[in-house]
């Protein structure tokens, strides 16, 4: 009957009366009961974060490129355009995510048809992460050696080709690192999205853990979030190391 390790822990804990061991054992024993809803919530979180990442790259990458190319001394200097883009990005960055989520509710309803659930959460998540990622893209592109860009000009390279074949490949390790930061930020935002009914691990932690005083759900979501962030960061670090040729 002592096949389940949780039982062993329980036996050990009960022998010493109530204490931290007993709490841990109870948590471990509770895990199978929680797992179905934890697994669903994890899937929701991954779903929201992945799609939001896709949109952040689709919009944030070109935005970051424009912030660099329209700058003074850039490929296509346009100070007025840059000032507008920069202001938009700053506005997006200055709103706390929880405020942004509420502020874009009507847009979310217009795009998705509802403001509840993980699909609806993708809208504020993307809007929150786009300016964040755009700034990171701008920073890594700024690191690209100006001499290399000049050399490409001297070789008669079109500007669009300079972006695609010189600037982006040269900045790739920095771009990947920025992408990982964005994913990690999105995981954190996604937990906040749970607070207004976005679904996912954050939602579970608030509903079960906070509102129903179930500490086990709280701990379980914390553990899963840590695992997801660690996995994303490790994968990113690996890619950056592989791609760095300097």
């Amino acid at each position: 009957m002592i096949a389940n390790p949780a039982d062993v822990l329980l036996l050990a804990a009960s022998a010493e009366a109530a204490g931290p061991w007993e709490a841990v054992a109870a948590f471990v024993r509770d895990w199978p009961n929680m797992w179905p809803s934890l697994w669903l919530a994890t899937q929701d979180t991954v779903y929201m974060v992945l799609w939001a990442t896709v949109f952040s790259v689709l919009v944030g990458l070109p935005l970051g490129v424009l912030l660099i190319t329209t700058d003074r001394g850039g490929l296509t200097p346009a100070p007025a355009v840059r000032a507008v883009l920069s202001a938009v990005v700053n506005i997006g960055r200055s709103l706390p995510f929880i405020v942004l989520m509420v502020a874009v509710l009507s847009l979310t309803r217009f795009l998705v048809g509802t403001t509840l659930g993980p699909t609806a959460a993708i809208v504020p998540l993307s809007i929150g992460a786009i300016p964040f990622f755009a700034r990171l893209v701008e920073t890594s592109l700024r690191e690209v050696d100006r001499g290399v860009v000049e050399a490409a000009h001297a070789m008669g390279t079109r500007r669009i080709t300079i972006v695609g074949k010189v600037m982006l490949p040269e900045a790739l390790p920095g771009l990947i690192a920025g992408l990982v930061m964005t994913v990690v930020a999105l995981i954190s935002y996604s937990a906040m999205a749970g607070a207004i009914g976005g679904g996912g691990l954050g939602d579970l932690a608030i509903r079960e853990g906070y509102q129903r005083f179930n500490d086990h759900y709280l701990w379980a979501t914390v553990i899963l979030l840590i695992v997801i962030v660690q996995a994303a960061q490790s994968l990113g670090d690996l890619l950056v190391r592989r791609l760095t040729r300097r």
Partner: protein
């Protein structure tokens, strides 16, 4: 091959204006190596960048190989630039590409197919002596090897003109020597015309046929190196052969624009009964010739006759005392 006429360029900084080019005329013959030497801030970098229009001059025209570049823009300017190779001080290689990828870049941009690119890249790497480094990344190379990659890349699209922006300034003396040797042999083999800028007199001495000294956005003097050395008061001669401070009343500076077999100095003392005392100087190979410059005290009653004798033998004699 390169004709630039009346180049002007002014940079407007926040408070003041900086004149980088103040009416420069540059003429580089086909197949020659032309060196522009000057301090940093003299405008030589702007001049070089004006030739392929990385900097567009405010006034003046640039003609390369018969084509007036200053009248071009857009696609036609890009095409023209592919006929002008450029080598950079800090190599400007793409760190994300292998050596072969870097050398192939200009071909890729010009739309050359993969197979042809491979062959050409192989040839170019052999040409610069890096046949075994095709798959290395720039970070794995030494400075001299990186510059060889830079040179191979500059030659990829078979340019007739090569611009060199301080190509050896980031290299140690031995590597500098080998890169200069490579540039000279490329000129000889491919018939390239090379325009280089440098702050090192040594570069002028070692490989340049013609040179210009640039200061404050203007050429102070320009021409064939040997002609300049044989010209009285030449700045180039003074810079190539620095002499110790010679202010004695009887001191002359004697320049040998070529090598002489006759023992001129002992002839001098014998014929004119003067005392000759060599104070300093040197003899070096410049533009393929042995050239010397000496500071000499010549004393005696027949001093003037002695100096005339030297002039008649093709030496340049300048009084240093005044």
């Amino acid at each position: 091959m390169i004709d630039a006429v009346g180049l002007h360029k002014v940079y407007r900084l926040k408070k003041h204006r900086v004149t980088a080019l103040n009416g420069v005329d540059l003429h580089v013959e086909s197949g020659e190596i032309f060196g522009v030497v000057g301090q940093s801030g003299a405008g030589k970098s702007t001049l070089l960048r004006s030739v392929n229009l990385l900097e567009r001059p405010d006034a003046g025209t640039v003609t390369v190989g018969g084509e007036e570049l200053t009248s071009l823009s857009g696609a036609r300017l890009r095409t023209a630039r592919r006929g002008i190779g450029m080598v950079h001080q800090h190599f400007a290689l793409l760190s994300s590409r292998t050596v072969a990828g870097n050398v192939g870049f200009p071909l890729e941009v010009a739309g050359v197919g993969r197979a042809e690119r491979r062959t050409r890249v192989g040839e170019l790497l052999e040409l610069v002596g890096l046949g075994d480094k095709a798959r290395a990344y720039p970070s794995q190379l030494s400075g001299g090897q990186k510059q060889r990659v830079g040179i191979a890349r500059a030659l990829a699209s078979r340019p007739r003109v090569l611009l060199s922006d301080e190509a050896t300034s980031a290299l140690d003396p031995a590597t500098t020597e080998s890169i200069l040797g490579l540039l000279r042999s490329l000129r000889d083999e491919l018939g390239l015309t090379i325009l280089l800028i440098t702050h090192e007199m040594d570069v002028i001495k070692k490989i340049c046929d013609s040179a210009a000294i640039m200061e404050d956005g203007e050429f102070r003097e320009a021409g064939r190196v040997l002609d300049l050395i044989g010209t009285p008061g030449s700045l180039l001669a003074r810079s190539l052969f620095p002499l110790p401070d010679l202010a004695g009343p009887d001191t002359v500076v004697v320049t040998y624009p070529r090598s002489f077999d006759e023992p001129l100095m002992s002839e001098l003392t014998r014929r004119f009964d003067v005392d000759v005392n060599i104070l300093g100087g040197g003899v070096e190979r410049v533009a393929g010739q042995s050239v010397g410059r000496l500071g000499v005290d010549v004393r005696g009653a027949r001093r003037a006759e002695a100096l005339t004798y030297l002039s008649e033998h093709g030496l340049l004699v300048e009084e240093a005392g005044k």
